[in-house]
C-alpha cells in the first residue's frame, strides 16, 4: 500500500502552520493513493513535541526521531537521518515545507535518493498514481504544470497556500533514536540570533504591513509598527528593497525578487511604488491594500483596495480604526 510521508517542522516542540499544511497535503495524497499518511518529526532529546497532535490533520502514524544532534537544524544530521527513514519506508510521495529549512533539506535528500524535486509547489494532485504539480516560475510571472516521473516523488509546498484540514486519524507515535556521529559533521551551527523579539517572520505571517521609500525616514517605522500591533499577533513588518539597501530595515524583511516570497491573507503596501521586482514577492497575497499618494503608482495595478493620499495622514487613522474595531471583538 502506498505511503506518503510529511516532514513536519517544529520550533521548540511547537508546530506551526507549515507543519499542519504539510501533513494535510500528505493525508489528501495518501487518500488518493489508497494508502496511509505518516509524519516525521526530528527533535532534540527531551524536547516535548506534541507529535500526536498531527493526527488531527490526517497523520496515521508519526515517527519522532530523537537525538541531541537534531535539536537544531544541522543539514548533515538531518539528511542522513531522513534518508535512512525514506529508504526503509517505500514512500510514494514525500512532502516538505518550502521554508528555509525545507528548502535547504529537500534538495540534498533528492540528490541522495537520485530522484527529482519539485520545489515550492502551489498545487499537487495524484491521478493514476502519477504526481502532478503546479509551481510558480519566472518569479511568479508564470506557472509550470509538471508531472514527476520518479518514486518517491519529492515535493516542497509553499507555505500559506495549502489549507490545514482537520481530519481525524490515529496519530500513533513511535520514537526512534538514530546513530549519529557528531564529530563527523563538517557543518556546525555556532550561534543563533533572533531579530524578531517573538514577532512572526514575514514569510510566515498571515498579515504583512510593508513600508517603502515613501516612509521617508527609518524613524517613521514607528507608524508601521503601531499598525502591525493593532493587527494582532500574526502580523509582521515587510519592506521594499529600496529601504533595505538604504539600511533602514534588515534584509530579513525584504519582500520581492531578491527577498522573500510571501502569500499572506492581507498585504498592506505603504509608500511602495510596486516595481515588478517587488510584485514578484507578494502578488499572490489574498488581499492587497495600497496606500500611496501617486494614483498612477503601479502598486494600484495589483491592489484590491487602495487609498490615494499622504501616508502620514492615512496611517495613524488606519491604526486607530483597526484598533477600535478589534477592541470591540
Amino acid at each position: 500500500m502506498a505511503k506518503v510521508l510529511a516532514v513536519a517542522e517544529h520550533r521548540d516542540g511547537q508546530f506551526g502552520a507549515a507543519a499542519r499544511e504539510v501533513v494535510s497535503v500528505a493525508a489528501r495524497l495518501a487518500r488518493d493513493l489508497g494508502g496511509t499518511a505518516q509524519g516525521v518529526v526530528l527533535a532534540g532529546t527531551g524536547v516535548p513535541v506534541e507529535a500526536s497532535s498531527l493526527g488531527a490533520f490526517g497523520a496515521d502514524k508519526i515517527v519522532v526521531i530523537e537525538h541531541d544532534a537534531l535539536a537544531d537544524y544541522n543539514p548533515e544530521a538531518w539528511v542522513s537521518t531522513l534518508e535512512d527513514l525514506i529508504l526503509a519506508g517505500e514512500y510514494g510521495v514525500v512532502v516538505f515545507s518550502a521554508t528555509t529549512l525545507g528548502k535547504d533539506l529537500a534538495p540534498r535528500i533528492a540528490a541522495h535518493l537520485d530522484v527529482p524535486l519539485a520545489s515550492d509547489v502551489t498545487e499537487v494532485a495524484i491521478s493514476d498514481g502519477v504526481v502532478s504539480v503546479t509551481r510558480p516560475v519566472f518569479s511568479g510571472k508564470a506557472f509550470a504544470h509538471l508531472e514527476i516521473d520518479a518514486s518517491p516523488a519529492l515535493i516542497s509546498i509553499r507555505p500559506n497556500v495549502f489549507p490545514s484540514v482537520e481530519w481525524a486519524a490515529e496519530g500513533e507515535v513511535t520514537t526512534v533514536t538514530p546513530d549519529l556521529n557528531v564529530s563527523d559533521f563538517r557543518v556546525r551551527v555556532v550561534e543563533r540570533e533572533s531579530s524578531s523579539d517573538g514577532v512572526v517572520d514575514v514569510s510566515e505571517a498571515s498579515v504583512i504591513v510593508s513600508g517603502g521609500r515613501g516612509m521617508k525616514d527609518p524613524e517613521n517605522w514607528s507608524l508601521l509598527e503601531s499598525l502591525r500591533e493593532a493587527l494582532g499577533a500574526d502580523a509582521a513588518l515587510g519592506a521594499s528593497r529600496a529601504v533595505v539597501d538604504a539600511g533602514w530595515r534588515p534584509h530579513g524583511e525584504q519582500v520581492g525578487q531578491t527577498g522573500k516570497t510571501v502569500a499572506p491573507a492581507l498585504y498592506i503596501a505603504v509608500g511602495i511604488s510596486g516595481a515588478v521586482q517587488h510584485l514578484a514577492g507578494m502578488r499572490t497575497a489574498k488581499t492587497i491594500v495600497a496606500i500611496n499618494r501617486d494614483a498612477d503608482a503601479p502598486i494600484f495595478g495589483v491592489a484590491d483596495y487602495g487609498i490615494v493620499g499622504d501616508l502620514f495622514e492615512v496611517l495613524p487613522r488606519l491604526t486607530d480604526e483597526i484598533a477600535d474595531l478589534r477592541a470591540k471583538d
Binding site: K103, P107, K141, S196, G306
Partner: protein
C-alpha cells in the same frame, strides 16, 4: 584561495513573460537576458574575497547553457572573474539533471569554495547548489548573506525565519548565496575590455534525461480590477469596513 561560481543566464527581472503558441515555452523575442540576480551576489562575493586576500587564487565562473550563455560569462569576467567555462547543452527542467551536469564538471576540482546563487530567477527551484554539494560529497551552507574565511573554515551568516545563524563549514565547501550588503558591481569599460582577453573554454555538457515532464505553462489569472476606496484619511473608515465585511481580512 580558488573559487568557482556557478551562474545562470535568465530573463532580466523586468522582462514580460508571455507564453508562446506551443503552450510550453515562453516567447523569447524582445526579452533581455542577464545573470540571475543572486548569482551576481555570488560573483561579487568571490571577487571581494579575492581582492581582500590578495593571494594567488583565482575566480572561475561556470555555466551550463546554450552558446548564448557565453555573454553572461563575459559579464562575470568583466566584473573581475579570471576564467570561464561554458558547458554547452540544453538546460533541463529537472534541477537534478542540471546539478549532475555541473557536478560532473566539478568532480576532482581542487577549488576551495564553490558558490551558487540561492535561486535562479527563471525556474526558481532553489535546489541546484545543495544538489551539487550532495552529489559531490562536499559540505554545504545555503542562504548565506555574508561569510569570512578563517584558515580552512568558512564562517557564514545564514538567514533563517526570524533571525540568523552563524554556521561554520570546513573547506572545500559549497555556499548558496543570498542578498547581503554587497551590491554587485557593474562592469566598467576597462573590465569589459579585459574580459575579451580572458580564457573562456567551452565543452559539451553531460545532461541526463529529465524526470520531470512539462505539461504546459500558464500565466496567473489577472487580479480582479482593484477599487480605489477614496482619497486621504477620510477614506479609512470605508476601507476598514470593506476589509472586515467583504474581504474578511481583519
Amino acid at each position: 584561495m580558488n573559487v568557482i561560481v556557478c551562474i545562470k543566464r535568465v530573463p532580466d527581472t523586468e522582462a514580460r513573460i508571455r507564453i508562446d503558441g506551443s503552450g510550453s515555452s515562453i516567447e523569447t523575442s524582445g526579452i533581455k537576458y542577464d545573470m540571475s540576480p543572486y548569482d551576481a551576489f555570488a560573483v561579487e562575493a568571490a571577487i571581494r574575497l579575492k581582492e581582500g586576500l590578495q593571494d594567488e587564487g583565482d575566480v572561475s565562473v561556470l555555466t551550463l547553457g546554450d552558446s548564448s550563455s557565453s555573454e553572461t560569462l563575459r559579464k562575470a569576467l568583466a566584473m573581475g572573474a579570471d576564467r570561464a567555462v561554458l558547458l554547452n547543452g540544453e538546460v533541463s527542467l529537472d534541477g537534478l539533471a542540471t546539478a549532475k551536469g555541473l557536478a560532473a564538471e566539478l568532480e576532482g576540482s581542487e577549488a576551495d569554495l564553490f558558490l551558487f546563487g540561492i535561486k535562479a530567477a527563471d525556474d526558481d527551484q532553489q535546489q541546484v547548489g545543495q544538489m551539487v554539494a550532495a552529489l559531490s560529497g562536499r559540505p554545504c551552507v545555503s542562504g548565506v548573506s555574508s561569510f569570512e574565511i578563517d584558515g580552512r573554515t568558512a564562517r557564514c551568516k545564514r538567514e533563517v525565519e526570524g533571525g540568523s545563524e552563524i554556521v561554520e563549514v570546513d573547506l572545500p565547501a559549497v555556499l548558496c548565496i543570498t542578498k547581503g550588503s554587497n551590491e554587485p558591481r557593474l562592469p566598467a569599460l576597462k573590465g569589459i575590455m579585459a574580459a575579451k582577453k580572458k580564457p573562456l573554454e567551452e565543452r559539451p555538457a553531460q545532461v541526463s534525461a529529465s524526470r520531470v515532464r512539462l505539461i504546459g505553462l500558464s500565466t496567473p489569472p489577472p487580479r480582479a480590477e482593484g477599487l480605489i476606496v477614496g482619497e486621504g484619511p477620510d477614506a479609512v473608515p470605508e476601507l476598514v469596513r470593506i476589509l472586515r465585511e467583504d474581504a474578511h481580512a481583519i
